[in-house]
């Protein structure tokens, strides 16, 4: 008789996950996403290694994709930070899309009304207006959640749709309509973002925000209160933390950051300098959902979100090569988003359990 020892798999509940385990789980889930995506590339008749090489060589080439990579990557970073802050308090802000639209409206409203201002004044004003508009939109959902206990996932999503049509209202045949069909008027030259090191200055702004946010959440008293609320609303209540206040605060902060990205997006890329057609601005706004996935993969660590956002940006930009150079079908980049989110979700399992191999006796 030949005995085959079948190891018995046993799952064991994890009480508290260590930081190192969490990081390795996230890295592993990304790796698996790459492997799965390779399968799709092969199905489309491309050599995965060749494809990845093409993607990254294009995305990081100074002459080709680098500036777009950085621009899109930091745009996603705005959205990620906007997701992270409320999530630390236990709130799902999936309203980055809407807050980005509102930020867009704020920034453009300033630029159209005061086009003759000196850039040194106009640009800060645009950023401020974008942040305020976004903050208002975030705070609206925060208020509904904090004061009236309305589910924030549903409200923020509804607000996204409302904001989409709001932009539509202003651009397509509206007061901001340009000469070209369905787009807005171009921004005045004074509103264009100054470029530093191949990327608009707002990229450095968002890096700064990420660092400040990290310190703020870790070491400030408010940051502590946010973390307590996120871990246990009941405990927060018992030690005198006002959940409604914190809720409005985090949603407003998240909204403000997402709102800033309105300026970054349209004024930071010479390809735009205006609000494009609805399909195009919707496609850009859909990128904000990456913020959700990156935020979760980074375990809500805003510093870790910086490289990952740029990395994702490089895939977005680089995969356009797949369409043009390798003649692969459109939509592979968004497919990759989908795969990452799914593998990440599946790997969440390891946040709660570890698999132990038990030999059968």
């Amino acid at each position: 008789m030949v005995y085959i020892q079948i190891p018995k798999l046993k799952r064991e509940r994890i009480v508290v996950l260590t930081g190192r385990e969490a990081v390795s789980i996230s890295v592993l889930s990304l790796a698996v996403a790459f492997i799965v995506f390779s399968g799709f590339l092969m199905y489309e008749g491309a050599d995965p290694i060749e494809a990845y090489r093409n993607i990254f060589s294009f995305a990081f080439d100074q002459k080709l994709g680098l500036s777009t990579t950085l621009h899109r990557g930091f745009f996603i970073l705005f959205a990620t930070l906007a997701f992270i802050i409320p999530m630390r308090a236990g709130l799902w802000n999936v309203g980055m899309e809407g807050q980005f639209y509102l930020g867009t409206i704020g920034a453009f409203a300033v630029a159209y009304t005061l086009p003759t201002l000196h850039p040194g004044i106009l640009i800060p004003l645009m950023l401020l207006a974008g942040a305020l508009f976004g903050a208002f939109y975030g705070a609206l959902a925060g208020f509904l959640r904090g004061k009236l206990n309305v589910n924030e996932v549903v409200t923020t999503l509804m607000l996204n749709n409302i904001a989409f049509w709001l932009v539509y209202l202003l651009t397509v045949g509206g007061p901001w309509a340009g000469i070209a069909e369905s787009t807005s008027r171009p921004l005045p030259a004074s509103a264009h973002a100054p470029i530093i090191l191949n990327t608009p200055f707002t990229s450095f702004l968002v890096i700064g925000i990420a660092v400040i946010l990290y310190i703020f959440l870790k070491y400030s008293s408010i940051g502590y209160q946010i973390r307590v609320l996120g871990n246990s609303p009941a405990a927060a209540k018992h030690i005198g933390i006002s959940a409604p206040k914190i809720t409005v605060l985090v949603m407003a902060l998240g909204g403000a950051i997402a709102g800033l990205s309105g300026y970054h997006m349209w004024a930071g890329d010479p390809a735009f300098f205006m609000i494009p057609r609805p399909e195009a601005y919707k496609a850009i706004a859909d990128l904000t959902y990456w913020g959700l996935i990156i935020g979760l993969i980074c375990l809500l660590n805003s510093i870790a979100a910086i490289p990952l956002s740029v990395f994702i940006g490089s895939i977005l930009v680089g995969s356009t090569v797949l369409v043009r150079r390798l003649r692969l079908p459109f939509g592979l980049d968004v497919l990759f988003l989908g795969i990452i989110s799914l593998t990440f979700v599946a790997f969440q399992f390891f946040h709660y359990y570890r698999i132990k191999i038990k030999r059968r006796e």
Binding site: R13, F40, W92, V94, L144, L148, N149, V150, N151, V153, V154, T155, L157, M158, L159, N160, N161, I162, W165, L166, Y168, L169, V172, G173, G174, E279, D286, Y289, L292, I293, L296, P329, F330, G331, L332, V334, L335, F336, L337, G338, I339, S341, L342, F344, V345, A346, Q348, F349, Y352, Y353
Partner: protein
């Protein structure tokens, strides 16, 4: 007028199928925030299948892929005990990416030979949706299985000691819910739109999700809500069929369903309704069940 009513009943059908499935899922204690994604998958697979094999296989494909991803959500959230919101969001985001890649290259109308069967202009799926609501109502309130489902959603530990197979019940409900959402998606792309365009659900799945919250988890209130929103949605799209001289610019009307959803959410969250709402809410909703 009649065409408008038919169109709004079609929207109601989409909402109803997706929402009644979600209602069943939630009654068993599982939250599936991914129905927008399931609808997208159903819409895409339905559309692509119908292009080759025709309408009925299209519907079936939608049903099937919905059930498949319902199963995936079940495995993730019930067996692997991933946070149910994270899991649902993951399915949704995956669907957005996958469907764009999969179906956008076939953008355009269905081939002319794929036409929907209609009775007085209404699709039989509309009647199927109504029957589904009645059946699910009957199961939930009049049968032992329904009692088991409700118990599982309220307190799985108590249900388990009474001999209820909690895991099995949750799997069944989540898969069924997924299948219905998939069918809703197929109906959307095949009968309501008849054409494929980029991410066609446009927030309908999220409205269906909100409808379940409004309905206090009761099928007949859900039916009313779906009819109302079907009307509002269609009105927002083509107000001129109701009254030719509507002055409002179109985009403002398109905001209407979403604004009404928020207003309704605020109303049910008010002091008067909140208590009722909490009593009606399945107590174990969104909480993974861990034996012992």
């Amino acid at each position: 007028m009649w065409p408008f009513i038919i169109r709004s009943l079609e929207v109601a059908t989409i909402l109803l199928l997706a929402a009644i499935g979600e209602l069943l899922t939630q009654r068993s204690g599982v939250l599936n925030v991914g129905i927008e994604g399931l609808m997208l998958l159903g819409a895409a697979s339905g559309f692509l299948t119908a292009m080759i094999w025709g309408l009925i296989p299209g519907y079936l494909a939608g049903l099937l892929i919905g059930a498949l991803f319902g199963l995936l959500h079940a495995i993730l959230s019930i067996t692997l005990r991933v946070n149910q919101v994270v899991s649902g969001m993951g399915v949704w985001l995956f669907a957005m990416g996958f469907v764009t890649y999969w179906a956008d290259r076939y953008s355009g109308p269905l081939p002319p030979w794929v036409t929907s069967i209609r009775v007085y202009g209404l699709s039989p799926i509309f009647f199927l949706a109504i029957i589904t609501v009645v059946v699910i109502w009957f199961i939930l309130s009049k049968t032992h299985l329904g009692l088991k489902i409700r118990s599982t959603g309220e307190n799985p530990f108590a249900a388990e000691v009474s001999g209820v197979k909690v895991m099995r019940i949750r799997y069944i409900c989540t898969i069924t819910g997924g299948a219905l959402a998939g069918l809703a998606g197929a109906f959307l792309s095949l009968t309501y739109l008849g054409i494929w365009s980029h991410l066609p659900t446009k927030g309908l799945g999220w409205i269906a999700f909100a409808l379940v919250m409004f309905s206090l988890w009761r099928p007949f209130i859900l039916l009313g809500g779906a009819l109302l929103f079907g009307f509002v949605w269609q009105f927002a799209i083509s107000p001129e069929t109701i009254y030719a001289g509507i002055p409002a610019p179109l985009p403002i009307l398109r905001m209407l369903p979403f604004i009404i959803t928020i207003i309704l959410l605020i109303i049910i969250s008010s002091e008067r309704f909140r208590r009722k709402w909490w009593l009606a809410r399945p107590e174990a909703l969104g909480v993974p069940y861990i034996k012992e």
